[in-house]
Amino acid sequence: MTDLAPQTATETEAPARRRRGLAWNARRHPTVALGAAILLVMIVATLFAPFLTGYDPLFLDPLKRMQPPSWTHLSGTDGIGRDVWSRTIHGGRVSLVVGLVVAVLSTVIGLLIGLVSGYSRIADAILMRFMDGLMSIPAILLAIALMAVVKASITTVIVAITIVEVPRVVRLVRSVVLSIRDQAYVEAAVIVGSRFGKILFRHILPNTLAPLTVQATYICAAAILIESLLSFLGAGTPPEVPSWGNIMAEGRSYFLLAPWIIFTPGVVLAVTVLAINLMGDGLRDMLDPRFAKRL
């Protein structure tokens, strides 16, 4: 089978699929539907956090320290009497914002670098050596080092994780561009005298969109994980902002007496990342059968 065959198949299927509607798609791709549903619940919950929790995440009640989960405090209280459930739901804002912004930023930046790198051999030689170097540094450690030289804030966390994730996008985009650069229709465009930019954006860019969408979901999940790890280790979101990593970091010294302080944000974090990964896996199978075989 040629490389073109699956591509044309998805293109002809696409309009038909759109007409079939949401319910059909949900049945056909249950993992995407499940992931999306969980994620939607999370987004709504964090948006309406003040109405859902009943406690201010920063309000502390020294008389009610380390209360086990009960009807008044769904997930108990932490070491200084703050409501863990309220802090967890509010903390979701940080995670979701970081995940979303990093996914968008690193996809856009990586796409631009990857297009240039895939199309120009000189730029490729320089850029890819640099990207290889960046990717040889373990992601979490690179993020830690970047955070160590700047003042901790949500913005610096986002920038640090974006720097970590960009090379992965570049490599993906570059591999797609390389496989398409020598296709007959690109050569035809060169022959009829299309300009460099037009070839890149009109003829090559659309082919990268399907794998990029999948990659963006995985990056979103990875960014949420790295943010919580950074915060847990004390190199992420500043401690006064409730975030899942921060809540868990504060719960460490009380773990034997009050494990719910760590388990509540931990489980919510894992379920969120799981939902995004499920969406990614489903989207991968849905958008591009060629990539379904890959990891």
Binding site: S136, P138, I144, L229, F255, L256, I262, V273
Partner: protein, 313 residues
Amino acid sequence: MWAYAVRRILATIPVLAIVALVVFSILHIAPGDPAGVIAGDQATEEQVQAIRSKLRLDLPFHEQFILWLTSALQGDLGISIFSNRPVMALFVQRLEPTIALAVLTTIIAVTLAVPIGVLAAWRAGTAVDRGVMSFAVLGFSFPVFVIGYVLIYIFAIKLKLLPIQGYRPLADGFWPFLRHLVLPSFALGLSFMALIARITRASMLEVLSQDHIRTVRAKGLPAWRLLFCHALPNAAVPIVTIIGVGVALLLGGVVVTESVFAIPGVGRLVVDAILHRDYPVIQGVLLIFSATYVMVNLIIDLLYVVIDPRIRY
């Protein structure tokens, strides 16, 4: 073959040079005054100045880099700002627990994940396969520290089978050493296992559809011999490659795992360095860990010829 090996070894030099450049530049790409950030908000002008001269920030960039790189190549990674001791000495002192954790994790991950992946490929499409694949997605999604605390809660607090935290050096006896490493290794190894199991399954599926496997099957060999003696060796290259890639995951995860289980290794060194803003320590560990990753993958690349005799250069 030897020409390839030499070329491949030489090719790591530019990668390592760029790693070194990136690791070194981090301090300089930060907006504002890095010495001021490292010194903290309460630092006096003299303290900031002391850090600046300690990190050689008053020299031009290229001179700083060359000085830093030549001393790093001689094993001198600078002086810790917090403890005033050489970073290399601090690193070597903390090395044993980290190597023990990394090696045990790799052993557990590979010995469990490969058979699981083989099983999933052999029973592709069945409930066993779906179970393995679900486990793989779960393994990717559960962060090391969450798994770590769940394992501590179940096996150390509720069942009281294993110690909660801490580390015993090998010199104190093998059994206590192992008991303290079991939970951290499983916590750290879960995502590694998920990665290996997934690739093993994919690679095995491809091999199992080939003609020679049908011949072996027709010969009537028992399933385990078919899978492990005929199919697995042919599927080995992608599996070994992903183990090499996973080393990055492992080296990053060490920092978190050691922090959860209070293991006094290199990872803890990094976490303490974060709290003290001890940049030379973070920089040194970053350089050594990245170089380790590059070297491991170099060795794996060179091993391809041994693993798969079809590969000739």
